[in-house]
Point group: C2
Chain length 409, copies 2
């Protein structure tokens, strides 16, 4: 029998009625001849309610005990969903993370899955049961309950799919798939039928609204095909999988990602000596500030301009650290800007297509959008521009790379 | 170190503030030099909320899955209470029934404890931790979560006390102990300092409001001293323990129990032949009706009157069954009465004191209260009277056996 792992998140199962609707979806798949394992989150709002209860008692609750409290959210859902499936005449059985046994490390609140014992689940499947597993949770070597951190249910689903060699891991959400870009910015954005793991990871700024990046990494690592679908309406969704060699002509660019969460810091007149980059970035890292893009240009007078971006919420902190660094290494000046945006084009096609970068730069130039920074990876080109041009830039690139919806582009 | 097991029920821990108050009580005992293991129920209202969620989905939910859902109630409490204890600077650790491992049989919803593994708890106690255990739940041999049924947290506490050889099992409730009778009926009722297990069991109709009978049986069987205390105010409570031989002069009667939940059925003119009692009571039992008192008198004409009582809610059903029986065994007539009450005097002292019954009957006669049925056990005498005399009878007996509060009796 073909095995599918399905995952339903909080809004998909936010009420008793929604749980019943999900049960119908599952039973339909089961009756179509599939073996089904389901991973579920807590009913929407429940995890926050439980965390707030704990925080009323302790401002910084012990992570082990917080996991004991929070993990009950999914436990309620697995029981209720199993009941709903059984009401429809199909046998079902629930498992907590500990019952499966989803073994994790000891990092309460952000544990990592180390091993899944698939024995019990396999037996239940053989006996025709739907198996409903609590997402987001596991158990450590001491038998303490652990949680995987927010969005960990996606990871549970992928890990189950890998352990059970499932044909596909289906993530049901409140959107019907992954889009070429954010439809709120570009009306003509369209759902992608397929995208590769790497592209999905590079589309992080879009994708994170749909899927946990960690789950995508996990799926990529174990080669588990992932499908994002709507739990509210039928449709094929978007399949995220490994690249198929020459299966069909791929579009050059799969999507346009963007964000306006970053700020830019530049150190001008940095002495061109070995080790200078680490002298700049070291203290930033020591201050627990994450750096995204880094660009270094050699200037005319044997000195460098060194530019990097950080999350906008850490802008002030980063400026403080950088001013200290500037004095120490005798840089000329610090120039900063927190009104920037980052736009990226993503596509495995650019590996085999020349001229992608120049198409991008020309399209932006035609709209008189100035590029402040450029950074490239194998399947992504990112530019930093003035924030006010963000929407225009995304729409322009969406059209330039032929991503607009049929009949309208 | 002296080990005490404490149990806190739903109203004792109904809110975050109550949980914090209970944590203070526990920490106080711990700082007084005691080792403490705590068993807790779900926060009040939580178990019903969870059951209702399940019933919204299924009218008769699968017992295994219902236990998965319902057992989360205590799991939340153990986490929160552990956090509250830690906030007060005392180390604490929580265990679900499955984590302890409280092994039960497979009877979901009314499971019986078979074995408790005390290893982990003992280690934690040695390291100075307060151990907080989820009451009401266990795990069966397959690793499925089971629940012990309503009030099962008392049983968990007693079982833990037995497994850990605790000095005492303290049940914290919303009353400050066991009373000679219901204070709402007799103003001069007073709290008992001590009562034996057997007396407590015979006082069931009073005691069941305070303690689960099953927990008392369990405590008696394993010789675990039980103490009932208020979780809202300080006080010594009532100690329920084995009889101490000649430790001090015991009162003849410890308390007056009563109920008005029963109805009386009489079969007149029953042929006096062997096996006739089972021909009458058999069909009642087959109809799942529980019988309380049974009395049989030999009449003048070689025929018997056979009388028994059932719970009032099963009165109609019992009358129906009995009419059928009457025809079959050719009894003269069926006479029934559901306006009765049962009053019992309870005390181990009656074993060694003569004249207890006659004191009881004379006291009732002095108030012109007619006795309809009498039933005796080693430490209890019960009478059935007309319901309207109930309060008068209880007050009269309370005074007659010297139970009234000092200075007022």
């Amino acid at each position: 029998m073909t095995l599918i792992v399905q995952k339903y998140g909080g809004t998909s199962i936010g009420t008793v009625e929604r749980i019943q609707a999900v049960a119908k979806k599952i039973v339909k798949a089961k009756q179509a001849g599939l073996d089904i394992v389901v991973a579920v989150s807590a009913m929407s709002g429940e995890t926050n309610r439980l965390i707030n209860l704990a925080r009323e008692i302790s401002a910084s609750p012990c992570a082990r005990e917080l996991d004991v409290v929070v993990s009950t959210g999914e436990q309620v859902t697995i029981g209720l969903l199993s009941l709903a499936i059984k009401e429809l005449g199909v046998e079902a059985v629930s498992y907590t993370g500990s019952q499966v046994r989803i073994l994790t490390d000891d990092a309460h609140g952000k544990a990592r899955i180390q091993e899944i014992d698939a024995k019990n689940i396999s037996q239940d499947l053989q006996q025709g049961r739907v198996v409903v597993v609590a997402g987001f949770q596991g158990v450590n070597n001491n038998g303490s309950i652990t949680t995987l951190g927010r969005g960990g249910s996606d990871t549970t689903a992928v890990a189950l799919a890998a352990a059970l060699s499932a044909k596909e891991c289906q993530i049901y959400t409140d959107v019907d798939g992954v889009y070429t870009t954010d439809p709120r910015v570009v009306e003509r954005a369209r759902r992608l039928d397929r995208i590769t793991f790497e592209e999905m990871l590079e589309m992080a700024s879009l994708g994170s609204k749909v899927l946990q990046i960690r789950a995508v990494e996990f799926a990529g690592k174990y080669g588990v095909p992932l499908r994002v679908l709507s739990s509210f309406e039928d449709g094929p969704g978007t399949l995220i999988s490994a690249e198929e060699d020459g299966s069909m002509e791929k579009p050059v660019i799969s999507g346009i990602a963007f964000n306006r969460d970053e700020a830019k810091l530049t150190l001008r007149g940095v002495p061109d000596t070995p080790g200078i980059a680490s002298q700049i970035i070291g203290p930033i890292g020591d201050a627990n500030i994450e750096v995204d893009m880094i660009v270094q240009n050699v200037g005319e007078d044997q000195s460098n301009d060194f530019t990097f971006t950080v999350h906008r919420s850490e802008y002030d902190k980063a400026v403080g650290v950088l001013n200290g660094v500037a004095k120490q290494i005798k840089a000329k000046e610090v120039v900063t800007d927190n009104r920037i945006a980052k736009v990226s084009i993503v596509g495995v096609g650019m590996r085999s297509h020349a001229g992608v970068a120049s198409t991008m730069f020309r399209a932006l130039a035609n709209e008189s959008i100035n590029i402040q920074m450029i950074s490239t990876s194998e399947i992504k080109i990112s530019v930093v521009i003035e924030e006010k041009y963000l929407e225009l830039a995304v729409r322009t690139l969406h059209t330039a790379f032929g991503l607009d919806m049929d009949g309208t582009g």
